[in-house]
């Protein structure tokens, strides 16, 4: 072999050797890298397993403790899993028997059930399914179901799960409530009609009595002495009071009768109108320190409300210089009004009584005892509250709220 060839082969050999060492070094490095990656993987695997374990034990807990029934079924409707509530509700035990949801469907709800199933398959879920089901011993129960599909990692639907709530009692109660409500409405209507009829029927004999008294006085004027005339006048006054009373009853019973349209009502204007219409003795001043707001409501009822309170306030002022003050405050959901007077005041013990119908604290000819009960009824209608603060002899402040519409 020539020297040249030997040298060439030696060079080739040297390259091969170096290449081998290089490869070994690279592999060594790679092996180390792999080892480190492996270590890290083991750590993260361990923590993943811990998380997984935690999740699944959480799920198990939720599954077992869920008050609602949980059902897992395959897409053919065969039940795969039931939680304790489901076993209790349906009465089946999957360890011993096979259950297909079709057998649970109440026969009259079958079509609805199939529609919901179709929605489940096509949209992936259904919500608020409310229908009847059969339990194992053929009891019928009402249930509410929300259901959704379960997918595998590739997004293919493999099962369906549902939360089933037993609403049998709820349903019965709701039905009962509905019946009661209907009954109540009917009764209320009857009562209103009754009040109306009575009022009208009572009013006509009163009118006759009035006329008769008038005739009596006119025709027998010459024979009646002063005592007789006085008695007849008292009779007239009583009849007049009776008439007011009946009018009040009529008004009271008609507050929630007619639905008035809501409109913007300027309370400043409304109060000023009332002040100009009702009788206010000269020694009494009605003061509105701050312009009252415009609120949404029905004008007729608001007028009744303010008029009744204002009339009351003015009526019971016994001071030589009377003052009635109207103020307000805007709350988040309500308007609050204050009507303050320096009148006789109301004892706290009458607090409950004064808003009741036919309660007048004073025997008076012009007091029917209906006014404040009308006020209360209107405030109830506006979802508000009324109360008062008072010092006997010094005055009263009525304050009430009206819900913003």
């Amino acid at each position: 072999m020539s020297n040249e060839k030997v040298a060439l082969l030696q060079r080739a050999l040297e390259r091969e050797r170096k290449a081998r060492k290089q490869a070994e070094a690279i592999l060594e490095k790679k092996a180390l890298e792999l080892y480190e990656v492996n270590q890290k993987l083991q750590v993260s695997n361990a923590s993943l397993e811990a998380v997984n374990h935690k999740k699944s034990s959480q799920l198990d807990g939720v599954f077992d403790n869920l008050l609602d029934a949980y059902i897992l079924m395959n897409l053919k409707g065969d039940v795969i899993e039931m939680n304790p509530s489901a076993k209790k509700l349906f009465g089946y035990n999957l360890d011993f028997e096979h259950v297909n949801v079709v057998h649970l469907i109440y026969k009259e709800d079958y079509k609805y059930a199939m529609q919901s199933y179709w929605q489940l398959i096509n949209k992936g879920f259904f919500k608020d399914y409310k229908a009847r089901i059969y339990t194992k011993n053929k009891e019928v129960k009402r249930v509410h179901i929300n259901a959704g599909l379960v997918y595998d990692t590739k997004g293919k639907a493999i099962a369906a799960q549902g939360i089933v709530r037993n609403i049998t009692e709820e349903y019965k109660e709701a039905e009962l409530k509905k019946a009661l409500l209907a009954n109540l409405e009917k009764r209320n209507q009857e009562l209103k009609d009754f009040a109306h009829v009575i009022s009208h029927d009572l009013k006509s004999p009163l009118r006759s009595m009035n006329t008769l008294i008038y005739w009596l006085k006119e025709d027998y004027d010459s024979v009646l002495d002063d005592d007789a005339c006085e008695i007849i006048d008292k009779l007239s006054t009583k009849i007049e009071k009776m008439d007011h009373l009946i009018g009040g009853v009529l008004e009271y019973s008609s507050i929630d009768k007619v639905e008035q349209p809501l409109e913007k009502v300027d309370i400043q204007e409304l109060v000023q109108d009332i002040v100009s219409v009702i009788y206010i003795p000269e020694n009494i001043i009605v003061e509105i320190p701050q312009k009252l707001p415009t609120i949404t409501g029905d004008r007729f009822r608001l007028q009744q409300l303010f008029q009744n309170i204002l009339t009351n306030a003015v009526l019971y002022i016994d001071k030589s210089r009377g003052l009635v003050k109207v103020t307000f405050e805007e709350l988040k959901t309500h308007w609050k009004f204050y009507i303050e007077d320096n009148g006789v005041g109301i004892d706290r013990k009458y607090q409950k009584k004064i808003f009741e119908v036919f309660q007048s604290l004073e025997k008076s000819d012009h007091s029917t005892g209906i006014g404040l009960s009308i006020v209360k009824k209107i405030i109830d209608f506006y979802e508000g509250e009324i109360d008062f603060t008072s010092t006997v002899g010094a005055g009263t402040c009525f304050h009430f709220t009206l819900k913003k519409k």
């Binding site: 080739a12 170096k18 081998r20 290089q22 490869a23």
Partner: protein, 180 residues
Amino acid sequence: MKGIVFTEFLELVEDKFGIEYVDDIISKSNLESEGVYTAIGTYKFSEMVQLLSHLSEKTQLSINDLLYTYGLHFFSVLQNSYNGIIEQYKQPIDLLNAIENHIHVEVRKIYPDAELPTFDVSHKDASRITMLYTSSRGMYSFAKGLIESTFKHYGQEATIEITKLNDAGTEVKFEIQQHV
């Protein structure tokens, strides 16, 4: 450039021309690696350029012809290592069609730093595929050799029409018609 491209290249040179040629082109080149290559290493592309041009000088064969021959040979190297991937395709055109979106994706998983050419498919039917080769290396002849071997592997033949879209051959259109 992956070391296997160098080791396979030098082995092929040794096979076809003898060990003297290998020694010659290595000693004529100015190589950072000193001509020491292992399949699992990574080396500069400029070393491949030098080796190729010295071989071209010595053999009086064009670089493109050399690359083409190397490409023909290199398919068997890939087949040795990655037959599993090749077997996923039943037709050569399907394999070519998958280079960009499947094969290269897998390559990057193993070698995140690999610098790969792109093969954008603009047309594909059962017997015809048109691809745009893009690579700063301009090794389209190597690609041609590989493609021919691919057809051969499936027992098929094809006409490969090559249109260089620039002088450097960094963008080249491949129009491939499989023989029926």
